[in-house]
Amino acid sequence: MEQLLGFAVPGIPYGCAYAVFAVGLVLTYQTTGVFNFGYGAQAYASAFVFAWLVENHAWPTWAAFLCSVVILGPGLGLVFDRFLFRRIPSTNTTARVVTGLSLLVGIPALLPVIFGNGNLVGAPSIVFNPDTVYFHLGSDVPVNGIYLSAVLFAVVMLVVLVLLLRTTSLGLEMRAGVESRRLLELEGVNAPRVTATAWALCGLMAGLAGVLLAPTEVTVQAQDYVTLMVAAIAAAACAALRSMSVAAVVAVLIGVVSLTAQGYLPTSSFWYSAVLPAFPFLVLVGALLLVPGLRRLDEAKDPLSSVDPPPPPPSSRLRGREIDWIVRTGFWVLLFAFVGSMLTWMPPSWETVLNQGMAYSVIFLSVTLLTGTAGQLSLAQATLAGIAAFTAGQLARHVGLDFLAGAVLGALAASVVAAVLAVASLRLRGLGLALMTLAAALLFDVAIFPAQAVSGGTGGITLSSSWLPLDLFAPDGHAYFLLALLVLVVCAGGVALVQRGTVGRFLAAMRGSELGAAGVGVNLPWQRVLAFALSGALAGVGGALLAIQQTVIAPGEFNYQLSLAFVVIVLTTGVGTVEGAIQAGIGLVVVEQLLQYAPQRLQGLTFVLFALGALTYAAHPEGIVELEKRRWTERAERVLAHRHRSPATSSVGPS
């Protein structure tokens, strides 16, 4: 009994830390309607600035607290509201998820750029001294300051917030505003201000959580907040994002169970090394499969959404014959120029970069197909790419199979995994689906990819040139380029054909309205599994291609952050079209390469840039490249119409 207490009690502060975040997630969801993936990043920002001010600039604790929590916390929340989430219609779940994700990816990358040094040691504590043992539980379980502040904070926060949400008129207005801001305005309530207040409140909570919990970890590291976030997301999901108290209880349980198990399991066992780290993800998957409330998440629709104008048509639909001809010719000229340059004058360093961009483009095509065409959001595309790469690598290593043949089998494996994922999440949509794929990606990251049998450990698998039929590694040959070009053209053509064919119509119908699609006889489950399987195969092919280019397949190359970045990047450039994927792939590597010339500090900026792209995504869900294309097409059409003096078909006056 004493031993059990000794293992379980240290779990309580961990659990309370999770609870603080879980409650924050539910709070944000209940008051703003946004599942804020960036919540952990917000907390991290406050903790980071707090530690930076105290450690590097010797500010007094109270001043640093004021600055990092009371000002920065709500400030960040207000900025998120004003510049991002306010612009996204509540019906656009994808845009909301992606914006949150880009904050999650962008903020931790941005902080070192602004402040330098990413990991600050020993954030000072606020209320209780972390090292002082205040009292003993039972006979000899010490309870120190960290434990006390986490527990106290969690309890106080929960009580205050539940009261605020359930009994005050502000709480009522916040909840109403989530369902329909327009309807709330019709009641005479200043809805924008209510939402802004909600964001400020959530920001304050995140900041408090970050600073109060920072001492639980030795260093202020982004990674800690991610682990924390997963446990918190799992707890919030168990509460169907509805009840803050349930979320808090589940979070504490997760903390207690993991630490108790950690105490009892032998350190060398499979359970300890693989299952334990994956425990929060398993809870999340379980919640997504079993909690019925999560299936209805996106159902409560704004009754006044019919006030919004329909989205604009794609630019290719606007093009007249002449411009269409110019664009097509231009495309072929560009393609030939590109191939010609690569084969003749392109410096090898840039050839490598562009090669990599082509491999990324293939992976990105999988996003185009799944998210752009079928409207299904997946946060596991890098994982699928990794599955194919590791399969091919292990087959080559152990069976001696040719790597290219292995790549085909690997793509098949990725396709199967994607299909299984689709079947498992058939009853989920929107946010639920995003969470499910995220859980799967994290599960692979934590429990499967690091395993010796899969990736050969942290060092990864190094490709040997004897595994490949062609001399793909030859430094000055163009074999890899030609292979990548072939694969890219085949995949891009395939996706374009699918988009135009019957399957594409079905998928597009599903994206438009699942209910409507079912009404005209589309077999939704089957189409969805098909879309996932095809997309998994594409991601797999891209992953194997990338592996050849990198010559080493390391588990870190295919982690969940990359999946998030992939989705963000493709969505901001333009997810609807094949060109969008290629622009995203090439754009990513070119930006990365150009940043090499920038000062050291700015090197981590690639993801920040694309996260900033999400800012434009909020306003233009069709993607910035697509938006610009539409603008230019419209401009060109106007010029042409003017020159020809033909009656403008596009303006119908009230004659």
């Binding site: 009522l172 369902e179 009754p303 119908v652 009230p654």
Partner: protein, 264 residues
């Protein structure tokens, strides 16, 4: 009623659009204090758009909107609501995720004042006993008719200066429609001016003193209720003829012309 008082709602040469799709082309009419105006017209004529423009849900592109003599053009919807205009929108007009009581409380705090919430609740439950029975249920669990009654109850307890009701009767059983119209008549008795958007011409004209008939985003009739029926029926019939012509000319399955909406 003396003409010295300004109309409680006045639209002047209002044009409005949904993004690039234009919907109203210079709509003007006014509603006197305590009057009841029927807003008629075929599908897509712009009735709901007029209602949305008046309540600030849709911004006007040009022209002006005045509520109780005050120019509210371009103001956000919540300001217009506080100026005394209530808009019960087409379809669902209640918060599904809140309980019936929470829906009412939310409204009454604004309209009747904080101190009056509990007496207002009592009055609402007395007037609509069906709501009282289900006060703790989620509003989303109510039947369509009960939801309409709830959205009426929200405004009737503290009558606004002008109430715009958009197709309140759509999809309801006749007996429920009677209830709804009884509620509207109540409101009018307590001094609220009404703008009633309706497909059922008879119902609306029975209640209204004057009428506006819209077609393709423009006013084709504004005058006494008696003269409106003929115009409204004529407009609807013409619309049907146009659609039939289009169908026979282009062949079956062809879509009717998109009316006046066009890209600007």
């Amino acid at each position: 009623m003396t003409r010295l008082e300004p109309p409680v709602l006045e639209l002047e040469a209002v044009r409005a659009a949904y993004g690039p799709y234009r919907a109203l082309f210079g709509v003007s009419f006014s509603v006197d204090r305590g009057a009841a105006v029927a807003l008629l017209g075929p599908n897509g004529a712009g009735k709901s758009t007029v209602a949305r423009v008046a309540s600030g849900l849709v911004r006007v592109s040009s022209g002006s909107v005045r509520v109780d003599g005050r120019d509210v053009t371009g103001e956000p919807a919540w300001r217009i609501a506080r100026a005394g205009l209530a808009h019960v929108p087409e379809g669902r007009g209640v918060f599904d995720s809140l309980s019936v009581e929470e829906n009412l409380v939310l409204s009454f705090r604004r309209r009747a004042g904080r101190g009056e919430v509990s007496t207002s609740l009592e009055r609402a439950y007395e007037r609509f006993p069906a709501l009282g029975q289900r006060r703790h249920d989620r509003a989303g669990a109510l039947s369509g008719g009960q939801q309409r009654l709830l959205s009426l109850a929200k405004v009737l307890v503290a009558p606004p200066k002008v109430l715009i009701a958009d197709e309140l009767s759509l999809g309801l059983a006749p007996s429920v429609i009677d209830d709804v119209y009884a509620g509207l008549a109540d409101a009018r008795r307590s001094g609220t001016a009404l703008v009633v958007v309706e497909q059922q011409i008879d119902r609306a004209l029975a209640l209204a003193s004057s009428a506006v008939v819209l077609d393709r985003g423009a006013v084709v009739y504004f005058g006494p209720a008696q003269g409106a029926r003929a115009v409204a029926e004529e407009v609807v019939a013409r619309r049907h003829r146009v659609e039939e012509d289009a169908a026979t000319q282009v062949g079956p399955g062809a879509r009717p012309p998109a009316g006046r909406e066009g890209r600007t």
